[in-house]
């Protein structure tokens, strides 16, 4: 009745067309493009030069500072050039171009059974293997796990919510690699301390995943609590997840460890398992290739650096005219203007939209309906923030919580006037960040 009741978030059509598609290995592409910067942090320093021969898993760029991560060649071949490419975020970035030789030969000592078990070894291995958060933000995992000494971590939350429409990569991973994910979780438990409580958060629209994980946990006799979450976007957001699990609200600019929480994506946990058991660097990831414009959506294990062009062909080409290509989910992803964009460590999905599903919305004036206020998971006034940002009144916008926006897009989704609310808020946030640096 009153809009003050705690019911934020939205229920977009889930469109998980690929939920029944088993994870397949993608074909070796003709060209691998590895942007140096794959997530948050300083870009690593390039270690190779053109004409160098690299093997699968060879370290080609080394972390340049603490918040930075290693980068490995995802297949064997010759380095063509080090040039700029267009990253999934639409900006030019330096990248290493590799021409695969088709042998797909592993570097010595990589991808062989070599288990590490102590805390220091695990952290070192995670750092060496260049693992970053694979849910979207791409924060280096070794930094996330390096909790300050005075902070005690009580909760480890494994994020398998996957609340974005279309995406099924984490869902399939949980179904097919359940015992390995649990092995990964146990490694994290070693790092964070034995008494940490582990929650595995899965949205209720994946009952099969909940069941499989529960069964596997029982078989492995692990003390992990599977937490079925109400299906509601943005349930898988870090802050929303902390609120759901602990009931506490994480303030703007604060990191989860300040509330005693560490959150890891299911995909990251699987990567940690592979790194610690087989010394396998992060060179491939499970990506959902889906959307109304392609013939057959698939969940693919894709080598990093594969261009979207190759992915499209692998799924049988187009069903109809592609007018929009999205890297990531449809709520928080980025629209690409070219298909020569590589898959990076954070690419959870690649979506192809056709003319019928892409609607060119006309913006209407705000009619003050207040729906964006109601759906905002951060309890912000989105239409006011968007207006203030568009007027360059950033001081006032910051006072009203501009920096707390998580850019989930609920406000733009629900807006009956189809206003670009989150677009303007994102603009304001970027401006404020730039002004703050000066």
């Amino acid at each position: 009745m009153f809009s003050c009741c705690n019911k934020s978030g939205i229920h977009p059509k889930s469109n998980k067309i690929t939920r029944g598609e088993p994870i397949e290995k993608a074909l070796l592409p003709k060209l691998i493009v590895l942007p140096l910067s794959q997530g948050i942090g300083a870009p690593p320093t390039c270690l190779v030069k053109p004409q160098d021969y690299v093997k699968k898993g060879t370290l080609i760029a080394e972390a340049s500072s603490f918040v930075s991560s290693n980068l490995h060649a995802s297949t064997s071949g010759t380095v063509l050039k080090i040039d700029r490419t267009i990253a999934p975020n639409g900006q030019y970035t330096q990248a290493i171009f590799i021409e695969p030789d088709g042998l797909d030969e592993w570097e010595e000592g990589k991808n062989v059974s070599s288990l590490v078990s102590t805390k220091e070894e695990i952290l070192q291995r995670i750092k060496e293997c260049g693992i970053i958060g694979m849910g979207g933000a791409g924060f280096p995992t070794h930094v996330k796990l390096n909790v300050p000494k005075d902070k005690k971590i009580q909760n480890l939350i494994i994020n398998g919510a996957e609340c974005e429409p279309y995406l099924t990569a984490d869902h399939r991973l949980m179904l097919e690699e359940s015992s390995n994910i649990i092995k990964g979780i146990e490694l994290l438990r070693v790092v964070l301390g034995k008494d940490v409580r582990v929650y595995l958060a899965i949205e209720k629209n994946k009952p099969d995943a909940i069941e499989v994980m529960r069964r596997t946990i029982k078989e492995e006799d692990a003390s992990i609590e599977v937490l079925p979450l109400e299906t509601r976007y943005p349930q898988g957001d870090e802050r929303t997840l902390i609120k759901t699990v602990t009931g506490k609200k994480l303030g703007a600019g604060k990191l989860p460890f300040e509330l005693g929480c560490v959150i890891q994506n299911v995909g990251t946990v699987f990567a940690i398992y592979e790194a610690c058991y087989f010394n396998k660097p992060l060179i491939e990831r499970v990506t959902t290739i889906s959307g109304p414009a392609i013939l057959k959506g698939k969940n693919k294990r894709v080598l990093l650096g594969t261009q979207f062009l190759d992915l499209l062909q692998e799924c049988g080409g187009m069903y109809s005219d592609v007018v929009q290509v999205i890297s990531g989910g449809p709520m928080m992803g980025k629209a690409e203007y070219t298909l020569e964009v590589p898959v990076i460590k954070t690419s959870s999905g690649v979506l192809f939209f056709d003319r019928a599903s892409f609607q060119n919305y006309d913006e209407h004036p705000c009619i003050n309906c207040g729906r964006c206020f109601e759906v905002c998971p951060q309890k912000l006034p989105p239409t006011v923030l968007a207006r203030l940002s568009s007027e360059y009144n950033f001081d006032q916008a910051v006072k009203l919580g501009l920096k707390s926006c998580i850019e989930c897009g609920c406000c733009s989704y629900i807006c009956p006037s189809k206003r670009e609310l989150v677009g303007w808020i994102r603009f304001g946030k970027n401006k404020v960040a730039k002004l703050g640096k000066k």
Binding site: I326, Q359, P365, N368, F373, G409, S412, C415
Partner: protein
């Protein structure tokens, strides 16, 4: 937009315009739009329209059609003047304005005055401020108050109820002019069903409540404004009831053998209170956006209505109260947008 990068070894053809569209996320949107909201309001007003036809005859329907048609015409002309690329007729807001204006005027209103009122609604109250979303005052109420002030005699000739043939002033006018003793034969249930005089849409409380509940179910309005409006009005009326001995001694309204309850239900069911609370005060553009603001707004409307009705010289105060509160909406919104606590 950037030129699509072509590759020679690519066998597939791109879309007809050979561009990829870039836009800001999210790339999926809900199906809600302004037209749907306005359509909900129109559906919610249908019970009132039907009941007005039943109680006042087909002229009520004709009057509504005239108001809607002239509002649409004025909207069309304004779109031409504004040189809008896309006509704003499609969002149906002018239909809602026309309907609301029609439901707020007496059945005897000459058609040319109805057209004039519609012109005031659309041109002065809405388009001069910039069209939908930018108007400060509820357009239909501006039109109504304009007519009320310019044509007081015509606007208080409520014609005849075709069902039981009653005519004359509204119950609230009787209360204001002749005092409460003149209402000793008044039956509350008639006010509930609509067998009283008044503007064509305000007489049947039942029809308004049906429409109001529909709006709440459709999530087009929140109950907070109507409830706070009516409850604060009732609070002032109760105070008035106990402070005024002639009211306390009056037994004509014995509803459930309680004079207070009778008095309160008389005030709620007669006049434009329900119509105003459910359809006018809840207009999204001219009401606050936060729920606290809505609460303040509703309370303000209720208190002002009670003061004008009980102590002012007009028998009715809903329109004035809502318009006054409309002017305070930006202030209320500013007040209710607290600093975000980190």
């Amino acid at each position: 937009m950037h030129r699509f990068h072509e590759k020679k070894d690519v066998v597939w053809e791109l879309g007809t315009d050979r561009y990829l569209k870039v836009s800001s996320s999210p790339f999926v949107r809900s199906s809600s739009n302004i037209r749907k909201i306005m359509l909900c309001v129109i559906i919610a007003l249908l019970p009132s329209l039907i009941s007005s036809c039943y109680f006042f005859g087909t002229r009520a329907l004709c009057l509504s059609l005239v108001c809607v048609a002239s509002c649409c015409l004025f909207q069309f002309l304004c779109d031409l003047l504004h040189k809008r690329a896309k006509s704003s007729l499609g969002d149906l807001s002018c239909v809602v304005t026309g309907l609301l204006l029609a439901l707020n005027v007496p059945v005897t209103l000459p058609y040319w005055i109805a057209v004039l009122g519609s012109g005031i609604c659309i041109v002065i109250a809405k388009e001069v401020f910039g069209g939908i979303g930018y108007n400060i005052f509820n357009p239909a109420l501006v039109g109504r108050v304009f007519l009320l002030i310019c044509f007081p005699a015509i606007m208080s000739n409520f014609g005849e109820c075709v069902v039981d043939g009653i005519s004359g002033p509204t119950p609230l006018t009787i209360l204001k002019v002749e005092g409460i003793s003149a209402l000793s034969n008044f039956e509350i249930y008639k006010a509930f069903s609509g067998q009283i005089l008044g503007s064509i849409g305000e007489t049947s409380a039942l029809a308004i409540l049906v429409g109001g509940i529909f709006l709440v179910i459709c999530k087009c309005i929140r109950l907070v404004i109507p409830l706070s409006f009516i409850l604060s009005f009732l609070a002032i009326s109760t105070l008035n009831f106990y402070l005024n001995p002639t009211l306390s001694d009056f037994t004509g309204f014995n509803f459930c053998s309680c004079p207070l309850l009778g008095y309160l239900s008389f005030h709620v069911l007669t006049g434009g209170l329900l119509l105003g609370a459910f359809f006018m005060a809840t207009d999204m553009v001219t009401s606050p956006v936060t729920w606290k603001g809505k609460l303040l707004f509703g309370i303000g409307c209720g208190v002002l209505t009670a003061i004008i009705r009980l102590y002012g010289s007009y028998p009715e105060g809903v329109s004035f109260a809502i318009l006054i509160m409309n002017s305070l909406v930006p202030l209320i919104d500013r007040f209710c947008l607290r600093k975000y606590q980190v």
